[in-house]
């Protein structure tokens, strides 16, 4: 349980309640310790902030709109606002973090960037900022994800990144993360590892959450402009590792009146054996350098998850979210593959926005939230659906 007075920041050792820490082999110690010693100092430098804010504005296209979704609002009987992270350059929120981390890597004197990717969105966002800054870029991606996210693989290659398939285990995000960590162990001097979510050893979860926090920072003033109140009643976001949710929740974490709704991927159903609903199925455990909730066997072997959405196909969840779940601060719901597909189709037809499959999970729970007319709900529209067209075509039978 959380004993400190904030849900936002971990303690000195990187713990959010009982979750977090830095469970890393000694081979990574110097790099992680250097990052821990310097990340806050660098992030607070005015030259860093100037460059970061400028790039968010001119390159990413921030602030992203907060859109009042009139038809969805009517349907669900509440005011529903969509935070349009899908309009970020590269099509998802991931770039908020990669811009921040590449600027940090440059200040740490690193010349080579590695990243893991699931859906390919973080890989594309990393390849993009590497191209922008002329850095060498290597992206690890599960072999299975390379097959189901071909357009993003092509994008990364066009941007000059080398995409290396992870061929171990389930050949998805978890295994790509293992390979990226191994690369970092083998290249400790010139390489910075840009983790794409609020996972990994401390200080990564805090650092990534801070870079993504621009989402909720904007939501507050945008909502105030639109409604006169900067606090919504609900913030809804999908959670795999949890970076868009961390960003959307961040400035509301300690506003206890705001209900935070995290939506996990239930795959074929939470208890089907083909699911990625970590908080429902997981137990405390250690993966990728931090203690969190983890889907695992009784023997402590990590379970291979399933979700139709590559970005949510992860057996863990960031320690910030594990603490929100364990403390009861967050409400954790889940949506199945089919529910997400139907929600994607519905949102496309209702609002003229084709969402990413990940985001579609968040839309899928709106009907289950018992909303009232006075509620104002902000849903983080974390990414656009172009990358998922092949899946939509196949599953929704869109082509004769």
């Amino acid at each position: 349980m959380m004993k400190t007075d904030t849900y936002q920041h971990p303690d000195q050792q990187g713990y959010y309640g009982e979750f977090g820490g830095a469970y890393i082999p000694e081979m990574l110690h110097r790099n992680v310790a250097e990052l821990k010693a310097k990340y806050l100092e660098i992030m607070h430098e005015s030259s860093f902030q100037d460059e970061f804010q400028q790039l968010l504005k001119d390159y990413v296209g921030r602030p992203t709109p907060l859109f009042f979704a009139e038809r969805l609002s009517k349907e669900f009987g509440a005011s529903i606002f969509l935070k349009r992270e899908d309009l970020c350059h590269t099509g998802a929120h991931k770039i908020n973090n990669t811009i921040g981390q590449i600027l940090l890597a440059i200040r740490l004197g690193k010349t080579r960037i590695i990243a893991e990717t699931g859906a390919g969105q973080h890989g594309v966002a990393t390849a993009t900022v590497c191209a922008l800054k002329g850095m060498e870029c290597i992206v690890y991606m599960g072999e299975k994800d390379i097959e189901r996210q071909a357009p993003n693989v092509a994008r990364m290659r066009m941007l000059g990144a080398k995409v290396i398939p992870a061929i171990s285990g389930s050949k998805t995000l978890k295994d790509a993360t293992n390979e990226a960590i191994r690369d970092w162990i083998n290249n400790p001097n010139d390489t910075h590892y840009i983790i794409g979510s609020v996972v990994g050893p401390h200080p990564y979860p805090d650092m990534v959450a801070r870079f993504q926090s621009v989402i909720s920072e904007e939501i507050r003033w945008q909502l105030k402009e639109k409604t006169g109140n900067e606090l919504p009643t609900h913030v809804v976001a999908c959670v795999g590792g949890g970076s868009n949710a961390a960003g959307a929740f961040y400035h509301f974490l300690d506003e206890l009146a705001v209900q935070l709704v995290a939506v996990e991927a239930a795959g074929h159903g939470v208890h089907s054996g083909m699911s990625a609903a970590t908080t429902q199925l997981g137990k405390p455990g250690i993966l990728h350098g931090s203690k969190s909730l983890l889907m695992q066997t009784a023997d402590g072997q990590v379970v291979e998850p399933h979700s139709i959405s590559a970005g949510l196909d992860y057996p863990g969840v960031g320690p910030l979210h594990a603490n929100l779940f364990a403390s009861g601060r967050g409400l954790f719901l889940s949506a199945t593959d089919d529910e997400a597909l139907q929600a994607a189709l519905h949102v496309s037809k209702t609002e003229g926005i084709i969402p990413a499959l990940e985001t579609a999970h968040a839309f899928a729970v709106l009907g289950r939230m018992n909303l009232k007319p006075t509620d104002s709900v902000v849903l983080c529209l974390s990414g656009r659906g172009d990358k998922d067209l092949a899946t939509y075509i196949k599953e929704l039978k869109l082509v004769d």
Binding site: G21, Y23, P25, M27, S168, R182, K283, G300
Partner: protein, 255 residues
């Protein structure tokens, strides 16, 4: 006196520690491999407990772990296999593994059972020193198990001293910051080992990662108390028809 301490009192040069994966190549080959290692001159056996996500290991050891897991190896099965360990194996035995399976088993039970079957120490590369000092170390020590920390060429002198002070048994010097099974430049390694030697550490030092033959073993042993061979040995067990023979052939090429 602990078995490791006793070993280093008796022999402090060219100590050979060989890593093998429990349940590899066959589920019930664990003890056979250990017996063959002892009778062919291994001084210490490091027994790997397979894990689905072994971050500090390279592809060869990971693959052996996957085979062991597919064979049905678990911590519970392993302790069952090790019940008669001390009837046939007398060299020090260290369990190496990752935190998650150990935590799921329960560290207290794990240490109690390890000590009961005659295991001498633990290597858990993803257990950081902060958590060791504040939570887990006391439990490990209570059961009389040695705990071995890893150090690398990038580990600062101050940190080296700290990890040396926290370790008992020996200190595991990773010869470069690399996953197991990587190649490397041995001149740089020699310089690093010389630096360790000059520090007058409390614990004996064994060198691991990249030791694969007589030459690299001798070279690593020159400035340390001995070395650890893992990947090369796992490779030697690949497709073996006769474990005892394969172990004998492999070790006769080293010592």
């Amino acid at each position: 006196m602990s078995r490791l301490k006793e070993l280093f009192v008796r022999k402090n040069k060219r100590v050979l520690n060989v890593y093998c994966t429990a349940g590899y190549p066959k589920l019930d080959s664990t003890i056979t491999v250990m017996q063959a290692l002892e009778s062919n001159g291994a001084d210490i056996i490091e027994l790997g407990m397979p894990y689905s996500d072994p971050l500090a290991d390279g592809p060869v050891i990971q693959a052996s772990g996957n085979i062991a897991l597919a064979n049905g190896m678990t911590i519970k099965v392993l302790f069952e296999q090790l019940k008669e360990l001390r009837k046939t194996v007398s060299v020090p035995v260290i369990l190496m593994g990752y935190m998650n399976p150990v935590l799921q088993y329960g560290l207290e039970n794990f240490c109690a059972e390890a000590a009961a079957v005659g295991v001498d120490g633990l290597i858990l590369p993803d257990l950081p020193e902060f958590e060791f000092e504040t939570v887990y170390g006391a439990i490990i020590k209570k059961h009389g198990l040695d705990f071995i920390f890893l150090v690398t060429p990038e580990t600062s002198e101050e940190r080296l001293k700290k990890l040396d002070a926290l370790s008992t048994g020996f200190l595991y010097a990773v010869s470069s910051s690399a996953t197991t099974g990587s190649d490397q430049d041995f001149n740089a390694v020699e310089k690093y080992l010389l630096r360790l030697q000059k520090m007058k550490l409390v614990n004996p030092v064994l060198v691991g990662f990249g030791i694969r033959d007589k030459e690299t073993f001798e070279s690593a042993s020159k400035y340390s108390n001995g070395a650890i061979i893992g990947t090369a040995f796992i490779k030697a067990l690949e497709n073996t028809k006769d474990i005892a023979l394969s172990v004998k052939q492999f070790l006769s090429g080293i010592i």
